[in-house]
């Protein structure tokens, strides 16, 4: 070695330099692989979002037609607006029909009349009733009202505005009427508040996601109330108190297994146990919450255990060295320090539960429910199931509705995940 140090060391350097350039190339390649992976992921998300938004943005506006309505007492057949029996029997549709005949005077014949009445939503009469009840002085008066158009008209008018009219379900007469209305400025797009204030409906123009959102909310509240305390308690017990033996190993393996069980199995379990055995009514948020609790429990237990594990042992030793009892160590030190991690896990579990539809199909939350649920025992459906229902509906106008509901669901998920990240960043402590 000592005989020719010069050549040796320069040889050495040459070798290092050669390997260095090779290593640098490998490094660069590696970085590009990463970038490409990120790009593919982002591109997929972009395609998904563009597709959904391009299909769904139309649903946030809907076609209204302006008509002159006379609230004729004889036509409705109601004298006393405070009598519910009379109100129920009133012929409210007569109001909108009369207004249409009034607008297009030259319509005769059953067929044409049906086409004419088809211009506006079949629920228009009830909208006029609500309007009258809100302001009883209108009885006998005449006013111009913007009335919700039928879904076929809505689809046609939107596509016509875009330059590619879709007229498959329109008659020539109807197209002509729309042209007339448009020329007079009596047809226009308005913000679709129905989408956010109404429950489901067979008529696309009257359908909204309020019922599904409320259903999701109720189910999630119940899921959180059940799964968070149970999951955290289980995690604390397993992590801090349980002896390490074959039993706890067995439990750990099973919890990890449960996290990977397909969610529809939990639905079947819920059907068999909660509905068939305990006779919980089907289709209600109670049973939905119970099933989703089973599904999110493993997630919450696993993330909570990880959060507890990440509390440094030195903190536990310090507390124990001070003479704190086991539960004082846990409650005063371990729990506060691991709570951010637990909350993050809970939010991620909740986001998972919010996006879940399969187990809910099994327990009857897939029913067509018009009323907006007000409590845990009202029949309800949830957002993802509503999306499933609408996607399955034949009416063309439900396409954009489906995408709009997906957008609402996605924005809830994005908000929840952002909160999770924010919480983690915010509450993270250093020691």
């Amino acid at each position: 070695m000592t005989k020719k140090p010069m050549t040796d060391s320069s040889n050495h350097l040459d070798k290092i330099k050669k390997s260095l350039s090779r290593r640098n190339r490998a490094e660069k390649r590696f970085r590009w692989y990463g970038r490409m992976a990120v790009f593919v992921g982002l591109a997929a998300v972009m395609v998904l979002f563009t597709d959904i938004i391009s299909k769904g943005h139309g649903a946030f506006r809907i076609t209204y037609v302006e008509l002159q309505v006379t609230y004729d007492q004889d036509m409705i057949g109601v004298e006393n607006l405070t009598d519910p029996a009379q109100l129920a029997l009133g012929d409210w549709e007569a109001l909108s029909k009369a207004a249409l005949r009034n607008e297009f005077g030259d319509v005769s014949g059953r067929r044409d009349k049906r086409k004419l009445y088809g211009l506006i939503s079949s629920g228009a009469g009830y909208d006029l009733k609500d309007r009258l009840l809100a302001n009883p002085l209108l009885l006998g008066e005449t006013e111009n009202v913007w009335i919700l158009a039928d879904d076929d008209i809505d689809t046609y008018y939107k596509s016509w505005l875009d330059g590619e009219p879709y007229a498959a379900r329109m008659s020539a007469k109807q197209i002509q009427w729309i042209d007339e209305l448009h020329a007079q400025g009596k047809i226009r797009l308005q913000f679709n508040s129905n989408l956010f204030t109404r429950g489901d409906s067979r008529e696309p123009e009257q359908a909204g996601i309020r019922g599904a959102v409320m259903g999701s909310l109720l189910v999630l509240i119940l899921t959180l109330m059940l799964s968070f305390p149970i999951g955290v308690s289980a995690a604390i017990y397993l992590e801090e108190f349980a002896p390490r033996n074959r039993w706890t190993d067995f439990i750990e393996v099973n919890i990890n297994n449960l996290a990977a069980v397909p969610s529809i199995i939990f639905g079947l379990l819920g059907l068999a146990i909660f509905i068939n055995f305990f006779h919980v009514p089907r289709s209600v948020p109670i049973v939905g919450g119970l099933v989703l609790t089973l599904m999110t429990l493993p997630t919450i237990i696993i993330t909570s255990r990880a959060a507890i594990k990440s509390v440094p042992p030195s903190i536990r030793e310090a507390a124990m060295g001070m003479g704190a009892s086991k539960s004082q160590v846990v409650l005063h030190h371990v729990l506060p320090l691991s709570l951010p991690g637990m909350l993050t896990g809970a939010i991620i579990g909740m986001a998972q539960a919010l996006g879940e539809s399969a187990p809910l199909l099994m327990i009857g939350m897939v029913a067509f429910i018009v009323d907006i649920p007000a409590g845990f025992s009202d029949p309800a459906t949830v957002l993802p199931v509503q999306i499933f229902l609408w996607a399955d509906s034949p009416e063309r106008a439900f396409i954009e509705k489906t995408s709009a509901a997906i957008m609402v669901l996605l924005s809830f998920l994005i908000v929840m995940n952002t909160v999770a990240v924010w919480l983690r960043k915010r509450l993270e402590r250093r020691w």
Binding site: P243, R244, P312, S314, I315, R316, E317, A318, A319, M320, G321, M322, G323, A324, S325, Q328, H332, H333, L337, R429, R430, W431
Partner: protein
């Protein structure tokens, strides 16, 4: 305070020393040399064995800790001195596989008797750890924690007084009195360790165990802790494990030398560092291994 002479270069190792380790083998029946026992013993340990599963970490250790003395435990890494220290306030209970045999008493009371409440024991035997480990709470909360859980303070004023006194005894008060409600983790390493000492003495323990309290600190912070130990020794009995022989020489009254789980020698610190009785002790303090 005991002033030991610098010891590391007392006997330079020369090539003529005949294979030191060969002569230094220890047998199972070796007795501890020196003065293990004290007349005014605070804690008495007799024939203590500690096992981790099948592995024996401490072999048959018998020693007394006298009232208000500072006893240093030294020895090479893995010699069991920390394990022994942690068995004095039953911190080893938290290790599932750890088993302690023999008798450990404080004021004649068996610490391992099933009747003894470990919570009470730890209030009487405080501990300071190797790495400063203040709670991620305010300085005030750190010191007040012990008194709170043991119910030592009846009023807020009492508690304030305990906190101030403890911080003063730990010579930290002047530095932190303006920011009692800021995070204890924001202090420097040396301050954090003094905070941990303040936290330990806030419950007025009778014995304080220190497990290499200065190993994570710089020389200046170490010097302050050592001064502190000297002051505390007026009121408390202190057992300190240390890697630094100089530290043992500076702060302790008696020194115990551990080797491979056995207590080799216990003697007044001055004697250990000037005239060790046992060959192993001599080998260690002269730097032949460690």
């Amino acid at each position: 305070m005991t002033q030991a002479a610098p010891v590391t270069k007392k006997k330079p190792v020369s090539k003529t020393t005949p294979k030191p380790m060969q002569n230094l083998e220890i047998t199972d029946h070796q007795a501890t040399v020196g003065k293990c026992f004290a007349d005014n013993a605070k804690m008495t340990m007799r024939n203590v064995n500690v096992f981790y599963d099948d592995k024996q970490a401490i072999h048959d250790v018998s020693i007394d800790i006298a009232k208000n003395e500072v006893i240093a435990m030294i020895g090479p890494s893995g010699c069991g001195k920390s394990t022994f220290l942690r068995s004095l306030n039953r911190m080893n209970d938290t290790v599932d596989i750890c088993r302690v045999e023999g008798q450990i008493c404080m004021d004649g009371e068996d610490l391992y008797s099933p009747k003894l409440d470990v919570v009470e024991l730890r209030a009487r035997v405080g501990m300071v750890f190797q790495k400063p480990n203040p709670f991620p709470k305010s300085i005030y909360e750190n010191v007040a924690y012990g008194p709170k859980i043991h119910g030592l303070a009846d009023t807020r004023v009492d508690l304030d007084e305990i906190v101030e006194n403890s911080l003063r005894k730990a010579s930290l008060w002047e530095e932190v009195k303006e920011r009692l409600h800021q995070a204890g983790t924001g202090l420097s390493g040396g301050q954090q360790q003094r905070l941990c000492i303040a936290r330990a003495i806030a419950v007025s323990p009778e014995v304080i165990l220190m497990d290499e309290p200065c190993s994570a600190l710089d020389p200046i912070a170490t010097a302050r802790i050592e001064e502190l130990i000297e002051e505390l020794s007026q009121n408390f009995t202190i057992a300190i494990v240390t890697h630094s022989m100089q530290q043992a020489a500076r702060v302790s009254h008696r020194t115990a030398y551990f080797h491979l789980g056995r207590l080799i020698e216990v003697n007044p610190t001055e004697q250990v560092f000037t005239m060790p009785e046992h060959q192993l002790t001599e080998a260690y303090i002269t730097g032949r291994f460690g």
